[in-house]
Amino acid sequence: MDPTQQDIAFPATAWSLIGRARSSTPAERSAALQALLTRYLPALRVRLINESRLKEHVAEDMLQGFVTHKILEQDLIAHADQAKGRFRTFVLTALDRYVIDRIRYETAAKRSQAQSSSDALDTVAAIDPEPSRAFDLEWARQLIDEAVGRMQAHCEKIGRLDLWELFRCRVLEPALEGATPLPYHQLIERFGFVSPTAASNALVTAKRTFERSLRSVIAEYADDEAEVDRELIDLKLALQK
């Protein structure tokens, strides 16, 4: 069998992190939420600093509070109804609400800082509830980052680092760093492809592996394949704004 055609199927996500977040086991729920939020914290940080105009240390404090109180304690994600909208928007709305509630609480508690807190409240309340381009960009970065890491780990695990290398020098580095893709003649020398079919098949396999890896990351917060497709389209459109 042609080694480029052997089964290198990317492991399917048995159940999404959202599913685990809805699970009845507290430990499982906590681990799932932690994993999801940790991955997308940079995007949430962009929201608080760039759009809500919070100072960096305040934003960090808010994020920490959001994760520990709003999410972990109140099981916010466990109540997320995917049918009502995208997960990104859902998390964003929850964060905005948390920030508003927190500022109101602090305003009431510290009368002397009322004016500055009130300004912050106005700023947060006025921002668009939809994800901004900066937020989506940061979200996409985390998504790609995770997918790339997952693909590399998978290729290592199945002993197909050649696929990872091929993807890296033909697709990843040209996209991320503007590097020139490794020319075909160097490709066949480096990887020992005996025919264009072998080279093309290996590249197709590498790209497919990444595609599956990417979808597996999205599938952790999307309910089904159709939702994964929608999220991909949505993110691409958001980045092209």
Binding site: L176, Y184, P196, S200, L214
Partner: protein
């Protein structure tokens, strides 16, 4: 990790979000190298016969459009058209890796080497062929319509097979090159496609910057032949 050390732009992220197994990523320079590599790759035929796909030498070089029983899609095969089988003249061969020639056992006389494309008797009377390269079939001395028909069919099959991995543009050019070689070098037609469609295909192939000069000359000669017929 990769993107952690960089700050990828939205264009870079969009590119990566759009990565698809079916999308071509070869540049013209890559296609040129890939095509040359393909030309040098040997072919090995399978068990299917080509007889039904090779037309009578007395037949006109190009049929009139709309000839009954002949389809009009890419790489039409008369037998496939008659039998209603999509790849009725399909062949079970693929480009195969170059292998070192078999080493004769001590005291045994070496197996006589055959010219590429010339059948030789193998062990136990099985007919074996030394796989000729695509370049030899398309441009080499002599004329082997059967091999050219195989190249045409293989290119058509590879082009229609999303899993073949070969860029479709390469398959297209090989397909037209096989038809051109059969016509220009052997005076035989391998297709029932209408002249206008064929000419369009050859002109498209000639417009591909990565097509090597030797193949380009073949395609250009074919265009001249079509024009003369008109």
């Amino acid at each position: 990790m990769h993107s952690k050390s960089n700050t990828p732009t939205s264009n870079a992220l969009t590119t990566l979000l759009s990565v698809s197994a079916s999308g071509d990523v070869w540049s013209d320079a890559d296609l040129s190298a890939l095509f040359r590599h393909q030309l040098q790759a040997p072919f090995e035929d399978g068990t299917h016969s080509l007889e039904g796909c090779v037309t009578d030498s007395a037949a006109p070089l190009f049929p009139s459009p709309g000839t009954p029983g002949e389809a009009s899609g890419i790489g039409d095969c008369p037998r496939a058209g008659r039998e209603g089988v999509l790849f009725g003249c399909g062949f079970l061969f693929q480009p195969v890796p170059r292998r070192p020639p078999p080493q004769p056992a001590r005291g045994q006389s070496p197996i006589p080497l055959a010219s590429p494309g010339v059948p030789v008797e193998g062990e136990k009377g099985r007919r074996k062929r030394h796989a000729p390269s695509l370049e030899h079939i398309l441009l080499g001395d002599g004329c082997n319509v059967e091999d050219l028909g195989r190249v045409k069919e293989w290119a058509k099959t590879a082009r229609n097979d999303a899993e073949s991995g070969l860029p479709s543009a390469v398959c297209h050019v090989l397909y037209y090159a096989a038809i051109a070689a059969a016509s220009v070098r052997c005076g035989r037609r391998l297709t029932s496609l209408p002249r206008a469609d064929l000419k369009q295909g050859f002109i498209w192939a000639l417009a591909q910057a990565w097509v090597p000069e030797s193949i380009r000359q073949l395609l250009a000669a074919m265009v001249v032949a079509i024009d003369k017929e008109n």
